[in-house]
Every structure is written in structure tokens, then in C-alpha cells.
């Protein structure tokens, strides 16, 4: 559990948007940390999955928007599979990513980035999923 101050903030509309497009009820989380314990990408996350939920509960979306965690989540669905409260954490993190990349110019992976990563073995599936995940 992380200690955070509850502060009134102006991000209510973004929080509402995340709730809406994820369809996830964050209030059900009991901070058991099972999601973070199983997350294979946690080594490269500054805010762990259960902390993301806690921050959302407290309305502190700004911290999450600036974290690298949301870009390093692989949508592997381990957290979703194991949550004892049936919270779809993968869906929630997708909603947070989308809240950012749906804004003009905020795509994380652009056509110009392709030459830098492509090699002759790379399956089409990599680029298609890259664009679907990080570009709007």
C-alpha cells in the first residue's frame, strides 16, 4: 500500500473517462497486491499495478500519466486472470494509455519509428499490434 494524500484535483473528467472506457470498478480493489506480484513487466514499472489502482481510487491520475508503467505493460492478462476481486487491470491500464494517445499528436509509436526497429524477420503482427496499442 502506498501512502498518498487525498487532494482535490481537476482531473475528475479524465478519471470518469477511464472508468467509462474500461468499464472497471476500481473501488472493488482490496490492495492485496496479487496483480503486481505476478506482473512480468514489474521490473520496468515505476508504479506497480496495484499502486495504479490505489492512485486512481484517490483521484491522482496525473502521477499515472507520467509513469512509464503504462507503456511497459504487455497486456499479458496475468493480473486480470488472478485478481480475487475480478478487476480487469489490463483493461484499466489500456484505458489509461488511450486517455493519452487519443489526444492529437500523442501517439507513442509512429510510422517514422518503423525503420529504426524493423528487421527482415519481424512478423507483420508486431507492427500491427504496435500501431494498435500505441497509435491513434
Amino acid at each position: 500500500m502506498i501512502r498518498v494524500k487525498i487532494t482535490p484535483n481537476n482531473k475528475q473528467s479524465q478519471l470518469q473517462y477511464i472508468r467509462e472506457i474500461s468499464g472497471v470498478n476500481i473501488n472493488k480493489c482490496i490492495q492485496c497486491t496479487k496483480c503486481s506480484a505476478g506482473c512480468p513487466a514489474s521490473a520496468r514499472m515505476d508504479i506497480l499495478p496495484h499502486e495504479i489502482i490505489r492512485l486512481l481510487q484517490l483521484g491522482q491520475v496525473e502521477k499515472i500519466f507520467h509513469s512509464k508503467s503504462i507503456w511497459n505493460c504487455a497486456s499479458c492478462f496475468v493480473c486480470t486472470e488472478r485478481c480475487p476481486r475480478n478487476i480487469d487491470i489490463a483493461r484499466l491500464i489500456e484505458a489509461i494509455r488511450l486517455t493519452i494517445i487519443r489526444q492529437p499528436g500523442k501517439s507513442k509509436f509512429k510510422p517514422d519509428d518503423v525503420p529504426g526497429i524493423i528487421d527482415d524477420k519481424m512478423p507483420q503482427q508486431v507492427l500491427v499490434s504496435g500501431f494498435r496499442k500505441y497509435n491513434r
Binding site: 467509462e20 472506457i21 474500461s22 468499464g23 512480468p40 513487466a41 521490473a43 520496468r44 507503456w71 511497459n72 504487455a74 497486456s75 499479458c76 492478462f77 496475468v78 486480470t80 486472470e81 480487469d88 489490463a90 483493461r91 489500456e94 484505458a95 488511450l98 507513442k108 509509436f109 519509428d113 526497429i117 524477420k121 519481424m122 512478423p123 507483420q124 503482427q125 508486431v126 507492427l127 500491427v128 499490434s129 504496435g130 494498435r132 496499442k133 500505441y134
Partner: protein, 260 residues
């Protein structure tokens, strides 16, 4: 038995082996796979946001086409299977999605998630049967130590994918055993290879490294996969290391049926 077959974009290009060996094996096993006409790319990732409709349309087109023929829809690529299966679940149980998709597509008849989607492995397990498959094996892979790599997309979330036990699956090991080889269970067989992170985070390859080291630690010689992206990530991490090879499950199938 006749089935509708959905290949997906990668099987026509970089993962031709996954498809080629599947199709010739199906012939030997008496399975008729008819490739769907005008199939479209599934989008590679299931659109998780509730309000994303467009990304689900191509899956529904294939599902509805299979349903109108009264055939089960067979997939081969783990990613295509994941997308199509989850979209089908949405069409069955999510009124919001069902209504918008049907409004958009204007199919001759509304589609409500009736089709049955089977991954090729499920087809072998449930419709052919692994014991029947074992009877058809002409060149048993005796003595080969093979580790199944499941990854994420076939297994999770299990309440929708319904593929196998998400924490302790056995379908691929049963498949390996049916081919006469030795199935080795290693700890990281259901862990994520990093998936699409490969476009964004070069360090994500440590996820692939964990899987490979876990398998090598138990003397696995070949790692079996159903996903072109997993194969790519694992091979990239492997580099010139020849301790273990990454193979599509269909290649081993064709080998055991003596048609490779």
C-alpha cells in the same frame, strides 16, 4: 469434417511454416480446412476499450461467415485466435458492442456470437482426439525433449478463452506426448515473452530471456509455440545460441506424420 479456416496476415508472409505444416497435416488427418474468402487482418490485439467498435469488425465478418455456413471457425495464430474468440464473446454477451457492430455491418442476418471458434490445437484435442492422433504418427519423435511455450494469448483470460487451465495447462504437453516425444514442463512456460513491447522497450527482451533460461535449465532442446510474435521475440533473444530451437507446433506435427 469440414471447417472454415482463418489464416491471418502473418501466416501469409513471415510465418508461412506455421500454416504450411498445418494444412498438409490436416489433409493426412482427414480434416478439411476451407480458407475463408475475403478474410481481413484481425488487428493482432483485442481492443480492450469498451467503446472501440471498428477494431472488432473484421473478426465479426469472419465469425458471421463461418456461422452462415454452419461450420466451426479454425484459427492457427495465437493472436488471431485471441482476438476472434474475445470478439465472439462480446457479440454473444455485450449488448452495447453487438448492437453497434450489427448496425454497422448490415449483414443479411444479425450476428449474435453463435459461431464456435477453435484453435487448431483444440481441434486436434477435441474433434480429432490426441489418442487418434497418436495412432496416425508414423515417425514418433522418440527421445526428443520438447518444452511447450504457451505464452499469454491462448490462455488468458481463461473465463473467455476457455482453452485450458490458465495456471497449469497441459494441452501442448499432451500434444507433444501424442507425437512420441518427451514433454518437459519448465517454470516459465506460461509467462509473457514481451509481446508488442518489442516496438517500444528494447529491455523487454529480458522477459524472453527468462523463458529461454528456464527451458534450457531443464534441458529442453526445442521450444514449441503457436505464435509468430513469441517465436520472433524468443529467437531474437536467443541470437546465435544453439542450445535450444524455437519451433511451430505444426512443424513437429508434420514431422511426426512423416510428411515434412
Amino acid at each position: 469434417m469440414m471447417y472454415s479456416y482463418y489464416p491471418g496476415c502473418t501466416l501469409k508472409t513471415k510465418a508461412q511454416d506455421l500454416e504450411r505444416f498445418a494444412l498438409i497435416s490436416a489433409q493426412v488427418l482427414g480434416i478439411e480446412l476451407a480458407e475463408q474468402q475475403d478474410w481481413q487482418c484481425c488487428g493482432a490485439v483485442y481492443p480492450l476499450a469498451e467503446d472501440e467498435i471498428a477494431g472488432k469488425l473484421s473478426a465479426v465478418r469472419s465469425l458471421a461467415a463461418a456461422h452462415s455456413k454452419g461450420e466451426k471457425l479454425i484459427t492457427l495464430c495465437a493472436a488471431c485466435h485471441h482476438v476472434i474468440k474475445r470478439v465472439n464473446a462480446d457479440m454473444y454477451s455485450n449488448e452495447f458492442v453487438r448492437k453497434r457492430v450489427n448496425n454497422y455491418l448490415q449483414l443479411p442476418k444479425n450476428y449474435n456470437g453463435e459461431a464456435k471458434v477453435l484453435h487448431y490445437l483444440e481441434l486436434l484435442r477435441d474433434d480429432v482426439g490426441f489418442s487418434k492422433l497418436a495412432e496416425q504418427v508414423r515417425m514418433p519423435l522418440t527421445g526428443r525433449k520438447i518444452g511447450a511455450y504457451y505464452g499469454c494469448l491462448l490462455l488468458r483470460p481463461s473465463n473467455v478463452m476457455n482453452f485450458d487451465d490458465a495456471e497449469n495447462p497441459s494441452i501442448l504437453e499432451d500434444f507433444i506426448t501424442a507425437l512420441g516425444a518427451t514433454a518437459v514442463k519448465y517454470p516459465f512456460r506460461t509467462e509473457c515473452c514481451g509481446g508488442y513491447l518489442t516496438v517500444n522497450d528494447q529491455e523487454a527482451n529480458e522477459m524472453a530471456a527468462n523463458i529461454i533460461n528456464s527451458a534450457i535449465g531443464l534441458e529442453v532442446e526445442e521450444i514449441l509455440t503457436a505464435c509468430p510474435l513469441c517465436k520472433y521475440n524468443l529467437e531474437k533473444e536467443l541470437g546465435t545460441n544453439t542450445k535450444v530451437r524455437i519451433v511451430y507446433f505444426t512443424e513437429l506435427l508434420a514431422e511426426a506424420l512423416a510428411i515434412k
